[in-house]
């Protein structure tokens, strides 16, 4: 019984290894076209690249642009979300404008920003900040609007001050929504940063991927994509961890622990 559970638990890793091995075999036997190198070759290329300046600078720039834009996007999203949440007039007034902007993916603005700023990091930062504003904005708004009226009344009956109401009622009600918003925003920000780097040759890992693709250095291209994917996984994991820490009291997390 015990051995079986061990086997079951390692099943995801066994499957993953099997898929990687299959890819390796298919690539080595020439079933896959030679623009798809075997997995070991990709990893070896990545390993060789790890300590190089090109790799580290690119990675640093990508992460920097990502972090700045996400911070800006979260800030703007929370402020705007609260504003349209507490003032229905503002919500009514800005509705169509916000909706137009939200449904236009921010990569659309690449040309105009390239024109105004040139192919430099601010282009990526601005666009990713805009792109990550919308999920945070709308989640904050839903959170603020959705605060249960019973809770609000209870707070008033207990004579909580305005600050206490915000601290013990509004923030806990909004934060689960905000957490979801931030997770979506982070994914958007990374997608946009990479897109700008690839399309406009703004410095960063995205540009390096495109460089290797154009010069036919495919193992390196795939190695960098692997790195970007792992970065995506780490960001997701960190945000989930943070969410669990901050929202351990929330129903959806209590169930999981039980």
């Amino acid at each position: 019984m015990k051995r079986r559970s061990w086997l079951v638990r390692s099943l995801p890793w066994i499957t993953t290894l099997a898929i990687i091995t299959l890819q390796e075999i298919l690539a080595r036997t020439g079933v896959l076209p030679n623009v798809i190198p075997p997995f070991t070759e990709t990893v070896a290329a990545g390993w060789m690249m790890l300590p190089t300046d090109v790799f580290l600078t690119g990675l640093g720039q990508m992460l920097q642009q990502f972090a700045i834009s996400l911070a800006l996007g979260i800030g703007a999203g929370v402020v705007l979300g609260i504003l349209i949440g507490v003032a229905p007039v503002l919500n009514q007034l800005f509705r169509y404008v916000l909706e137009f902007l939200r449904f236009t993916p921010s990569v659309v603005y690449i040309p105009i920003l390239l024109l105004l700023m040139g192919a430099r990091p601010p282009v990526a930062i601005t666009l990713a900040a805009i792109g990550s504003t919308w999920p945070v904005l709308y989640q904050t708004y839903y959170g603020v609007v959705g605060v249960s009226p019973i809770l609000k009344d209870t707070g008033r009956v207990f004579g909580l001050s305005r600050a206490q109401q915000i601290r013990s009622i509004t923030i806990p009600s909004v934060s689960p929504f905000l957490a979801t918003g931030i997770r979506i925003a982070a994914a958007h920000a990374l997608i946009i940063v990479v897109a700008v780097q690839i399309i406009a040759a703004v410095p960063g890992t995205g540009r390096d991927i495109q460089n290797y693709a154009e010069n036919g250095v495919f193992p390196r291209m795939y190695a960098l994509i692997l790195v970007v994917g792992i970065i995506g996984l780490i960001i997701n994991g960190l945000l989930e961890l943070l969410e669990r820490r901050q929202l351990h009291w929330h129903a959806s997390y209590r169930e999981k622990q039980a």
Binding site: L11, P12, W13, I14, T15, T16, V35, P88, V89, N91, Q92, L93, F94, R95, Y96, V97, E99, F100, F103, T104, P105, V107, V108, Y109, I110, P111, I112, L114, L115, L116, Y138, Q139, Y142, V145, G146, F177, A179, T180, R183, A187, I191, I192, V194, A195, I198, I199, I209, Q210, Y212, A213, E214, Y222, I225, V228, G229, G232, L233, I235, N236, S252
Partner: protein, 273 residues
């Protein structure tokens, strides 16, 4: 968490709509700002000599001349075809694989690391790969759009199919529904709110990938023309391209919301009780 988002969204919009004054006057208030912006843009830019900010009148003229003629067939239709075909493939693959994996728990569990990796991988980093593998025609774009947008649908379908109320399952079994009937009328139906919220994520992803892949390796399409216009310093054409892409984004999402409302009518109604 995705489901919470979807449900709260629909209920709050319903609630605000009913709480506010009659819908008509609300719409008028919402129209004020867009109209003010357009009028201001029109008059402020009217005498503009700045090469970057041409008069709105010129932009709109270019919009009509450039986009509402030959480019409909040469650029707008190809772009939309890529988007729609890619998205539909993702829906079919995502829903059917998701329903399968949602039933075969062990398979979903075994494939989890691979699925999570591709879900977390920023979709746009695969654009160079698509160009390397399939060149610069329609195929790389459709394949890429289909590939990246199938993951949110797939993962949401797995979740949705899995979290069905066991009582409903028992009832449908005691009514002796066949496996196919149960899949179609019970499991997929119960999972549909989550499936559709996955589709919504997939659609925005598909749009981003469509535009960016046309900006990188393409010979036509709205993204291609808009970026090329900037590089060729045809600034009015570039602005008109931006407006077009904005309008198309609005249109595509609008259609999706209409379909969603129709499909999930029963769901939003239940939520209101």
């Amino acid at each position: 968490m995705t489901t919470t988002t979807a449900t709260t969204e629909s209920t709050t919009t319903e609630a605000t709509r009913r709480r506010g004054s009659p819908r008509f006057s609300g719409t008028i208030v919402s129209l004020i700002l867009p109209v003010v912006i357009l009028i201001t843009w029109w008059f402020v830019s009217a005498n503009s000599t700045s090469p970057f900010f041409p008069p709105l009148q010129l932009i709109l003229q270019t919009f009509v001349e450039a986009w509402l003629s030959a480019r409909v067939m040469s650029d707008i239709v190809p772009s939309l075809t890529r988007l729609v075909v890619g998205f539909l493939i993702a829906v079919v693959v995502g829903v059917s694989l998701g329903a399968l994996l949602g039933r075969l728990r062990i398979a979903a569990y075994a494939l989890n690391p691979v699925l999570q990796f591709f879900r977390s991988l920023p979709a746009t980093s695969l654009i160079p790969v698509a160009v390397v593998l399939f060149g610069i025609g329609d195929t790389p774009k459709i394949v890429l759009i289909a590939f990246v947008s199938s993951f949110p649908i797939l993962l949401n379908t797995i979740d949705g199919v899995r979290n069905i109320d066991p009582v409903i399952e028992d009832v449908s079994r005691s009514f002796r529904l066949t496996k196919m009937q149960r899949l179609r009328w019970v499991q997929l139906h119960a999972a549909s709110p989550q499936v559709i919220s996955g589709m919504r994520i997939a659609l925005s992803l598909a749009f981003v990938v469509m535009v960016s892949s046309e900006m990188l390796g393409a010979t036509n399409g709205m993204g291609y023309v808009t970026l090329l216009a900037q590089q060729g310093f045809q600034i009015t054409l570039m602005w008109s391209g931006l407006i077009l892409l904005g309008l198309i984004g609005l249109l595509v999402n609008g259609i999706f919301i209409l379909v969603e409302r129709k499909l999930l009518h029963w769901y939003t109604q239940n939520q209101e009780d």
